[in-house]
């Protein structure tokens, strides 16, 4: 096997490892939702190719309001779904859409776009 080939294989393997780590590797912990005057745990979530922040920490038994703001026109992200709370919302571009619910059980819940490609995590403590 020539040197070029060995080099190619090393680069290939490195790329594969890099892709796996980048997309599936450990992530940093999320943002904590703040309590507002209305008594809700509120968080502003930017929708643009993904959710920012994409991990939000709230407390159980406290009502939660997530304000989604979608700043892109691609139709992939036009809805957000909290399947565990049976909530969903259409997110028109450039508008802030509140989604309210009451997490009663601690645990980790997902919120996704309608196709499950964009993901965010809700950690209920």
């Amino acid at each position: 096997m020539s040197g070029t080939n060995i080099l190619a294989m090393v680069i290939g393997l490195a790329l594969i490892g890099g892709i796996a780590w980048f997309f599936w590797g450990p992530r940093k912990s999320g943002a904590r939702a703040a309590v507002t005057s209305s008594g809700y745990k509120e968080a502003m979530i930017l929708v643009k190719g993904g959710y920012t922040p994409d991990v939000v920490v709230v407390q159980h038994g406290k009502p939660v309001r997530f304000n989604f703001r979608r700043e892109e026109t691609v139709t992939c992200s036009e809805m957000v779904i909290f399947n565990d709370f049976a909530k969903s919302a259409h997110l028109p571009t450039g508008e802030t859409v509140p989604v309210e619910f009451l997490p009663e059980q601690p645990g980790e819940y997902e919120f996704t776009c309608q196709m499950g490609m964009l993901r965010g995590k809700l950690i209920v403590e």
């Binding site: 980048f22 209305s38 190719g49 691609v74 028109p92």
Partner: protein
């Protein structure tokens, strides 16, 4: 406040308007101010006073010390009994002077002293007592809000406005949510309060439904932008293809020979030409990739962007520095791949977007049902108002052929109303005073007036729209698997592409570098995560929308998927299989007695009885147009029956015990009674002048369509179980009549859920059909709870599936919809999985060692675009679906 003359105090009084001293007894009119009485000399004076002081339901303005009157519409007064209870509750409040209720119009009139109590207190008390007041909620868009403290200022300003029950302002959305009593304040009043606090109120805030409209508008914008990008990429593709392969074009062949500098210049020109295609026509792939990468996520855009960028970069290196390549044959360009792939994938997205718009057609149709205007009686005149301004409690006039704007109760007039758009039931429903009407249904022949009970977002239609939207946004359990796959899909494809390229480079034939590049680009481009992601949601949207069109509200994807798997269906007898209301079924006359005469006398005496079975006999007599004579000496004997005198005859009506007490020989009637009881009927003996005269029997009769629906359910392979509190004999009689497989008799209401659980323990997936109010625990216990309801009273919240038509046929349709939708989902998923499972290995060149097949990246792009369009088109096929089960049964019978 007009007082009766008896309450007037004695002695002279002064008219508070003109100052004249008058004799209270001679006063033209009186008013109270606090506890003080005021007397007026003339009409003019009292009118002037009224203008300045008196409150009215529509203005809500009042001077201090003045009693205030409000009218509140109550959605669930619960008849005379409930009305009385509410009156007592409210009268107990300090400061409430007078409470009157109108049970038929469901209206509550209260006079109270605003110094001692507040509307909020009254409303709170009524709510605590379990009544639903038709309070309205609205949203106002607020301008000029920049800080958190503004929130408090506006909320306080709103809460200080009379009639406002609750107000919350959201800084993020710049919106105020206000709950208010419609009679006391209106949107204009609320807007004024906000403006007085120093903020602006923007034009009409739009209700939630229009979020869908705006999503539509976004889609339309996205569509036109994609269309532009497609045309641009397609137009540029033409010269790019021509100059990439000059050897195929006779004129160019000689002009641009291979490895000539002329060809290199032409290629360099193509490189520049495709740049705007990549970053203009394909800009969304790059921005999409970048946004996702920031979140360490990958999507379809990532694949396409890397694919076309790799092709472009390779080509540009080949043009700019061909000496870097070991052989000149390797220094080829793939600019055509960049341009054509972007054009094709854009075309796929365009078609997909258009098809996806059609999947939500059902909900658009529902939203379109909403009436635009209402003819409301205000101050005695009829005015046309936008439907948003109709308040709970308003009186609305509906003429023939008009749409009923909101939910309410008919006050006067008769008509037939087409409710098919809500209930799916095609036969028009007769409406008389006291009947409920549903907003968005179509009035046909007569005209009538009705009082609005539910307006705005509380109407049945609004609730249905919200439910359907939520359901369409929910996920079927099958999708959780898909979601997991989607999570790993794109990075896996990238890994496979790198692996394939490496393998081709190391082990492949010459020129390895080119093969490696082609395989890398093709693998990235052929993979279609969109087909996977779209497979379930699009079918679900169409299926749930289809259900709504048929009057079947499916609450979630979960319910839709489970319905398909049902093995046993439990039907609650009363109100589900039967009408839930007793009817006269048999009249048996002894020799010497006439049947009509017997019924006439029986009905006459029963007219005085309050027993629920009595009204069935009276209605039965009415149906035969018998005139009912007067009754004297009426006496009810609890546990036995009734007795009385009619036209000089002594009549006894009741059970065997009553007859025994009066020593009446029953003879052959005993056997007759037994036979009727065996059929599940309730027979009652009638004796005239101490002699057994015959039997009248009543029964809760079976709904016309129940038998057909049960047969259709059995044909779908379900075990049909009837659940009832009746004794075994009666239950089995009805069970035989309607043809159920199994009867569970003598079940107490609280044990229904337990019976459902017992069936589940037999290992069956159980669906429970009930009325949603009494059967709520059983509906929850069942794998799928189906609530049967009619009109506005449906307990939409209680069940997984709500059947608006109130007919068992809906159960059959619901199961058929579930099966059709899930079949569609499986087709889509199968298609998407098979496509990727075959396409990716072929693109990686798996077939090359065997049959020498290697895909071109452009074919991959076409395949990828086609696959996601196919998925959406297949989901749209569901739109033409029609229920068939019960239809066939009906045809067989006729």
């Amino acid at each position: 406040m007009i007082e009766t003359k008896t309450q007037r105090s004695q002695g002279a009084a002064r008219d508070p308007v003109c100052g004249t001293t008058i004799d209270p007894a001679q006063a033209f009119a009186t008013r109270t101010r606090g506890l003080e009485m005021l007397y007026f000399c003339s009409e003019r004076c009292v009118q002037q006073y009224d203008r300045e002081h008196i409150s009215s339901a529509t203005t809500g303005v009042s001077g201090t010390g003045q009693l205030r009157r409000i009218e509140l519409a109550v959605a669930d007064l619960g008849g005379q009994q409930g009305a009385k209870r509410l009156e007592e509750q409210l009268k107990a409040l300090p400061g409430v002077w007078q409470v009157t209720t109108n049970a038929r119009a469901r209206l509550l009139r209260i006079a109270y002293d605003p110094d001692k109590t507040q509307v909020e207190t009254i409303v709170g008390r009524a709510r605590a007592a379990g009544y639903t007041l038709a309070a309205s909620t609205t949203q106002l868009d607020i301008g000029g809000m920049h800080c958190a403290s503004c929130v408090v200022t506006i909320e306080e300003a709103l809460k200080a406005t009379p009639g406002v029950l609750a107000a919350s302002v959201n800084l993020a959305t710049q919106q105020a949510h206000i709950e208010y009593v419609p009679g006391l304040v209106d949107r204009k009043g609320l807007a004024r309060a906000i403006e007085q606090a120093g903020y602006r109120v923007r034009a009409e805030s739009v209700p939630a439904e229009t979020a869908l409209d705006r999503t539509e508008q976004d889609r339309a914008k996205e569509y036109s932008s994609l269309l532009r990008k497609f045309w641009f990429a397609a137009l540029v593709s033409l010269p790019v293809i021509v100059f990439s392969y000059p050897q195929f074009f006779p004129g160019l062949r000689d002009w641009l020979p291979p490895e000539s500098s002329a060809l290199r210049i032409a290629w360099a020109f193509l490189g520049v030409l495709t740049l705007p295609v990549m970053f203009g026509g394909g800009s969304h792939y790059f921005t999409g990739m970048w946004q996702a990468l920031k979140h360490r996520q990958a999507n379809m855009y990532t694949l396409i962007a890397i694919g076309v960028a790799a092709a472009w970069l390779y080509s540009s290196v080949a043009v700019a520095a061909p000496q870097l390549f070991p052989s000149q044959a390797l220094a080829q360009t793939f600019y055509d791949v960049t341009a054509v792939v972007i054009a094709l994938v854009n075309l796929g997205l365009l078609l997909e977007l258009r098809a996806r718009g059609r999947t939500s057609e059902a909900i658009k149709k529902l939203i379109g049902l909403q009436a635009k205007t209402a003819r409301v009686v205000r101050d005695g005149t009829e005015v046309d108002l936008p439907v948003e301004e109709v308040l709970g409690g308003d009186i609305i006039v509906v003429r023939p052929g008009e749409k009923i704007p909101v939910d309410g109760v008919v006050l006067s007039g008769n008509s037939s109303v087409d409710e098919s758009m809500i209930t799916g039931e095609s036969i028009p429903v007769e409406k008389h005073a006291g009947d409920e009407v549903i907003g968005a249904t179509m009035n046909q022949t007569g005209s009538f007036r009705f009082r609005a009970t539910k307006v705005g977002k509380d109407t049945a239609l609004s609730q249905i729209i919200r439910l359907v939207q939520d359901a369409q946004g929910s996920k079927a359990p099958i999708q959780r698997v898909v979601d997991q796959v989607a999570h790993y899909f794109v990075p896996t494809v990238m890994i496979l592409a790198v692996a394939a390229a490496t393998i081709w480079f190391v082990f492949g034939p010459q020129p390895t570098f080119i093969y490696a590049l082609i395989v890398f680009v093709t693998t990235l481009i052929i993979a279609c995560p969109c087909a996977l992601g779209l497979a379930t949601p699009t079918s679900l949207t169409v299926g749930i929308g289809k259900g709504a069109e048929q009057g079947i509200l499916i609450r979630s994807g979960d319910a839709l998927q489970t319905t398909m798997r049902l093995q046993t269906i439990v039907l609650d007898k009363t109100g589900t299989i039967t009408k839930g209301k007793p009817e006269l079924t048999n009249v048996v006359a002894e020799r010497d007695f006439d049947e009509d005469e017997l019924l006439r006398l029986a009905a006459a005496i029963e007219r005085n009885s309050e027993h629920p079975l009595a009204s069935a006999i009276v209605e039965g007599a009415m149906a035969r147009t018998l005139a009912l004579p007067e009754v004297t000496n009426f006496k009810a004997v609890p546990g036995h029956g009734v007795e009385g005198e009619v036209e000089g005859k002594h009549i006894l009506l009741g059970n065997a015990r009553l007859m025994t007490t009066h020593h009446i020989a029953l003879g052959r009637l005993v056997a007759e009674t037994q036979r009727l009881a065996d059929d599940g009927k309730t027979p009652m003996y009638v004796a005239i002048n101490g002699q057994a005269a015959g039997i009248v029997a009543v029964a809760d009769t079976v709904k016309d369509e129940s038998v057909a629906a049960i047969a259709a359910l059995k044909r779908l392979g379900l075990e049909v179980v009837m659940l009832t509190g009746d004794n075994r004999r009666t239950a089995e009689a009805i069970g035989r009549q309607v043809g159920v497989d199994r009867v569970l008799p003598e079940v107490l209401p609280q044990d229904k859920a337990h019976e459902v659980q017992r069936l589940q323990l037999e290992g069956k997936t159980v669906g429970m059909v009930g009325d949603g109010i009494n059967d709520a625990p059983a509906l929850t216990q069942a794998n799928v709870g189906l609530a049967i309801g009619t009109g506005t009273d449906v307990a939409i919240e209680a069940a997984d599936i709500t059947l608006m038509s109130g007919s068992l046929a809906g159960v059959v349709t619901a199961i058929e919809i579930s099966k059709a939708t899930m079949r569609n989902v499986r087709q889509n998923l199968f298609g998407a999985f098979i496509y990727n499972a075959l396409g990716i290995p072929i693109a990686m060149g798996l077939l090359y060692p065997f049959i020498g097949v290697l895909l071109s990246p452009m074919i991959a792009a076409a395949a990828m675009a086609a696959s996601s369009v196919t998925v959406v088109t297949n989901a749209n096929r569901l739109r033409s679906w029609h229920p068939k089960g019960t239809q066939r049964e009906k045809e067989k019978r006729s």
